[in-house]
Subunit: 195 residues, 2 copies
DNA sequence: GTCTATAAGCCGATAGAC
DNA sequence: GTCTATCGGCTTATAGAC
């Protein structure tokens, strides 16, 4: 029985999301995605031009939720600005405790596609990370941080490092240290000796 | 004509090194490695138990050269300790300018194998990163940096972040910012307000 | 130690029916 | 919009000759 097109399409993306993130891009076949979505492979090809198309769509659905998670951790935190920045890393540390956590999906996807810089997923991943960075720069600028773009960039670098190190070592202390470093940098900038 | 066993083995590892790094782990077949090494696939299986075995050996050959590159950039730099730490990031920025640069091989490999935490390549990658971290901690401790292990950890987190961000954005300014942040953290620790 | 040959199965993508 | 069926090619790994 034909379902609504949008519904089937979403079901496929949800299945792709789970499998791409869990097993990786190359290791996940369209057969497996179709089976998990409860449709045939032919239906997947009706809704998506190719596997590469589906990869980019998978990442696109993670953009907004990930950004909102960072924003929620920051907004719900109390204390000074450095303490609230550290709260973002504390939030990340919590998600990492989940059994299904397997690093940053954006980072792992561009890592697999490193030899295809023109791949559509690259643009999606880069744009997502820049959205996070721009949001941080805005928050810092609103609170009188000098060179807010530079500080925001440095904090995002520590976030990237935390994701990578956590996946490699499976040791939550790396996220704690990244949060310490971020708080140090933000606090340092506020005390008037930026850069 | 049979060559020396060690020589054939090395030839295979060199070919694997090139292809695994350029195209990724899953995207590289043993057929391609054998062809590039100028041997048959059967010979590859004579020297290595499996593809997983070869992956771990590939990363193991990158451990020492990568560490030595970091050490050379640090040792050849002049100026204060923060400036010499920044020189490491300047060195990384140079390698990134190369056309064949495709991120950190350790990071990309564990990213692809994220669902196999028991894979031998995981241990090799983790051990390599910890060697870099331990070396930095030693250098910091020798120069009177308080909490040298913490500062070394934070600098390696910035290195990881620089690798990931550079691959994603292909913008060298991320490495510069990472170097700025690292120099800031090291300088801050020396001025007596560590952590 | 290295070869030829092949097993046994999975891959992305497409043809054509309904 | 979704199905069944299949193409041509690639994958890891192994058998057995020399």
């Amino acid at each position: 029985m034909p379902r609504s097109g949008a519904k089937t399409r979403d079901t496929i993306i949800v299945a792709a999301n789970t499998l791409f993130y869990r097993f990786g891009i190359k290791a996940t076949s369209l057969d497996a995605i179709a089976e998990r979505a409860g449709v045939t492979k032919r239906t997947v090809y009706y809704h998506f031009r190719s596997k590469d198309d589906l990869i980019a769509e998978y990442l696109a659905t993670r953009d907004q939720p990930n950004l909102e998670a960072f924003q929620a951790w920051f907004e719900q935190a109390r204390g000074t600005l450095p303490e609230r920045v550290r709260a973002i890393f504390d939030g990340v540390a919590e998600t990492i405790g989940h059994a299904r956590w397997r690093g940053c999906g954006f980072q792992r996807t561009v890592g697999e596609l490193a030899n295809k810089p023109g791949h559509p997923a690259f643009k999606v991943a880069s744009a997502h990370k820049k959205r996070v960075e721009s949001w941080l720069a805005y928050e810092f600028q609103q609170r009188g941080v000098p060179h807010p773009e530079d500080i925001a960039c440095q904090v995002t670098l520590l976030l990237e490092g935390a994701f990578a190190a956590m996946l490699m070592h499976r040791d939550r202390r790396y996220v704690t240290q990244a949060g310490n470093a971020a708080a140090c940098i933000v606090g340092h900038s506020l005390s008037g000796r930026s850069r």
